[in-house]
Symmetry: D2
Subunit: 319 residues, 4 copies
């Protein structure tokens, strides 16, 4: 998907692809008529900028290669499943100005971004409550779940970054209600959860709640709502198309929600590339950087701790 997006983007050019899965690399290189690099190193050396969309465990090593090669890099989330490794890598970033951008694509969704703007520009006055509903259309494969790092580091992490973006200040504490309702046996086996409600409070007592489920049969449910002293803004879902039926016993019948993130966040993926290019061309700070990725992971770990221990977790416990 990322290769297609870059190839189709008016400001970007796909220079080549590296994939340890040789067949996948062949397919992508041939489809777009671009170089198939022999190694990650040669890919990084051979391009002006790098997009990392590999398994999470490889991210930090690849980021290190990009830093060495002094190549701007857009890396998929999470940086890593280990906060310790992330913290260790952070030490290496103090004296570099190579742009490292994290792929928290939801920030670039025009509806979500308009909500954040309505808070930042005062349209809704002082912010009081943020409500994020984020439900996947269905469980991924058992194998995916087993290596995902758990719901908080795999799925909630997007919402935690969005929460920080919407709140405009750091989260001070979290509390999680976590359940195994969609596929209890698998969740039990993985010591994971599939259904969760996460509440948060900032230092200035602003509130946020995230409602997560691995299964919403009606589609990919992605909503944001902000309440302030002057009003509320809501970013709503999209349907596959806008035909509605009015029949004898039911009216307003609409198409399913856009399903899945490739459709729902198509515009956002394009805007993400725009922001990355802006950062490269103008030296402007990336809109979401390494520290954002680290803090989202730290919050995800706090969520897991809260779920395990059934208690409020203060964020400063985690550092």
């Amino acid at each position: 998907m990322h290769a297609d997006n870059i190839a189709a983007h008016p400001r970007a050019k796909l220079s080549g692809v590296y994939d340890p899965d040789n067949a996948a690399a062949d397919a992508t290189a041939s489809k777009h008529g671009v170089t198939k690099f022999a190694s990650a190193e040669s890919a990084i050396t051979g391009a002006d900028a790098v997009l990392i969309a590999t398994p999470t465990a490889t991210h930090i090593d690849l980021l290190a290669l990009c830093l060495e090669a002094e190549k701007p890099v857009l890396c998929e989330k999470p940086i890593d499943l280990s906060l310790e490794r992330v913290n260790a890598f952070r030490a290496r970033l103090t004296d570099t100005d190579i742009p490292i951008m994290l792929g928290f694509v939801r920030r670039f969704d025009p509806g979500h971004a308009a909500c954040q703007k309505a808070r930042a520009d005062g349209t809704i006055g002082a912010l009081h409550q943020v409500t994020i509903t984020s439900r996947d259309p269905g469980l991924p494969s058992d194998d995916y779940i087993k290596t995902s790092g758990g719901i908080f580091r795999d799925m909630t992490i997007h919402d935690l970054d969005l929460a920080r973006f919407m709140l405009g200040e750091e989260i001070a504490e979290v509390f999680v209600v976590a359940s195994r309702l969609v596929k209890p046996s698998l969740m039990q086996a993985c010591d994971d959860y599939d259904t969760a409600i996460i509440t948060m409070k900032t230092a200035s007592d602003k509130q946020c709640v995230i409602t997560n489920s691995r299964e919403a049969v009606y589609g990919y449910d992605q909503r944001v709502e902000l309440l302030g002293t002057k009003g509320m803004v809501v970013s709503d879902n999209y349907h596959n198309h806008n035909m509605r039926a009015y029949l004898a016993h039911e009216t307003n019948i609409s198409a399913p929600l856009q399903n899945f993130f490739i459709e729902r966040y198509a515009t956002a993926f394009n805007l993400e590339i725009d922001y990355f290019i802006d950062a490269i061309e103008t030296g402007a700070p990336v809109p979401v950087g390494f520290e954002d990725g680290r803090l989202a992971l730290l919050l995800a770990d706090a969520c897991l701790l809260s779920a395990k221990e059934g208690r409020v977790v203060k964020i400063n416990e985690m550092e």
Copy 2:
């Protein structure tokens, strides 16, 4: 229904009821603990103001009685099925100031009224097009149809009055596409239509279209839309309640539309009584009077003529 509305209205008091159907009169009088009058004359004499909701053929005689008794009167539409009789009665109204209000209740629907206001106060700039969708949930009984005076004088007449209200100027010509699609045999037998699209133009070339059907299985469909140079306003339907379902293949599934006019225009019926009482108490002109009733009937007759002859009818042909 009108008796219930008056009884429940905070500013009105039901003083009594007359109904040639003695059982119906008994039921209403007993339900509300009020006088059952022996005749229309005694009812009119015995009340401070009169609401006429009798068969159309009796309206003019009862209006005459009200005038004689000098009683303010709120009369259901249409005044009569014969424009000639209405014109003849009009001559008697020149030297009276007894309030005669016509029951074009839709003008008082808060959504419709807000549309008219948005035109009148300039919110939408100069008006260009008015679109009225007006569909009954289903055909009334064959007997009703046979004595209804036809779709234009029975059903469209409400929309024609609304068109005048929304346009804010008189209609100069009409053209009608009329069909027999819901119950062709009955319509053929009655020389009537059940499906019609009426287009209109004013002297200043503003446009209006009414879309009518005797059958909308999804409920009572009542919409108004105004396009102006600065924007559009829409008055939409109401559902029985606001629960929506999102299932695997269909989303947004809503309850049927409010069905029928008693539910849909409940608020409007109450506001209509308020305006009537205002006119009585303050001497203010009634918001919709005899001449409005006469012009709506004249337009209905023009629609019928257009349908019969398949041509544009200029309204000044009708006078």
Copy 3:
């Protein structure tokens, strides 16, 4: 409001009114042409059934009078601010079959009720998450706040009853994030909160979240959402009317939300009376009874404890 509702209700008759505020009693009695009772005792004796809408502190004594007089009673929530007093009174109810119904009116809202039905009849499959948004349009007076018993016993209690109704099983634990954001000084002075998010879990790990605020400037925000294995149902707000404006830079501009509970729950108040009459006439159990009132109060107390101590509260701690 309750007197008006009873007077207008097709199946009820207002027999009289008692109010220690003599002027208010006069106004109501005169408006409806009914007896002004000299005391609560004579009112209870003089009527077939009783509706209690007095200050909370008087509820239990009045309920006791109704029991003595063997009169069915519909009592506004909460029963009392003291769980101890409620528990004590409960002991007296073991050998009576006089209907005692609690005024948790939201259960009767057609949209909310349709959500509950969609859970109960399996339309949405097995229930996983309940989301309740409940925000008042603005803070009541300082005096009201000071004697209200606090946000949880005054405002959230409605939502806690709704949560039990929607979940269909008892709540096992609650956790509250509570803030003072709308009027911090008043809240500080009263040791109260104006903004809260309450999360809950049942014994079978179903989840529920309530989002409360004392101030939503866009109107009275009352929404319910249920997620199940087969789908989601949502009960949404109502606007003052259904006119929408489409202007050059903004579209879909709608009227404010219905504001306040008298408008929003008008239909529900009528249906509540219907259920009460059904219980009286048929001996059917009341749809929401004393024990429901007691459990809602107990949950409200648990919320307060959670807010004070910043921890999860198990409901069985409270008994």
Copy 4:
């Protein structure tokens, strides 16, 4: 736009471009790294299939070149402004099976297409009424208007094709209300109109109405509605994004409608190419062909005649 669409389409490859405007040809060829052909002839010879998006007056000559070169062709509407020339060219098509597809892109809009399907598959029962609202966001340049062929052949023609698609049977008569309200002086000078309501009837008395305006300041308004014996389907507009604001006096405030056809029909343009490729690859009939283009033009001419003469025009008058 068409070049970009072809280049980005997964099943198509842009082989080259010809444009008499040399600078424009250079820009397109360079952007996509493709051949700039020296002439229309060489472009047609040099490609496997042709897309014609040139000024209307050139369409027939270019279609003729495609036929000679036996190249499948997708041609923008209208075929020509002269029905006579179109009829003359039709004679040449009797013994060719080269696919000629017309660019009536709205048929491929997923919402519109779902409406047509709901009629074709019986979901809404027997069709009674079709309502098409089609308003441009604003007037094009005066120069464009002057050479456009007039509102009916330039703008309404899309809606006339859509009307035929939705109705599923041929239109027997049209009647037009046409006004000069947006820019009266220009319209007077060009003997053109900017605001029109077109009503139609088929041989079986089905009804259709098109509401056109050259100016809807709230965006590009593109709606379709079908009423049948079993229900109604509606294809609605899209907003720029799905953020809505709820403020103190206005709620539900949404972004402007997608503006203009490039955004609104982006998906449809891609699906159009898919259908064209299907026709080329499988020999399947094109979904909208030369005769559809001819009939839409004939209907547009009938509309103009109706507007000029203020009367119903029977379509068989036009042949």
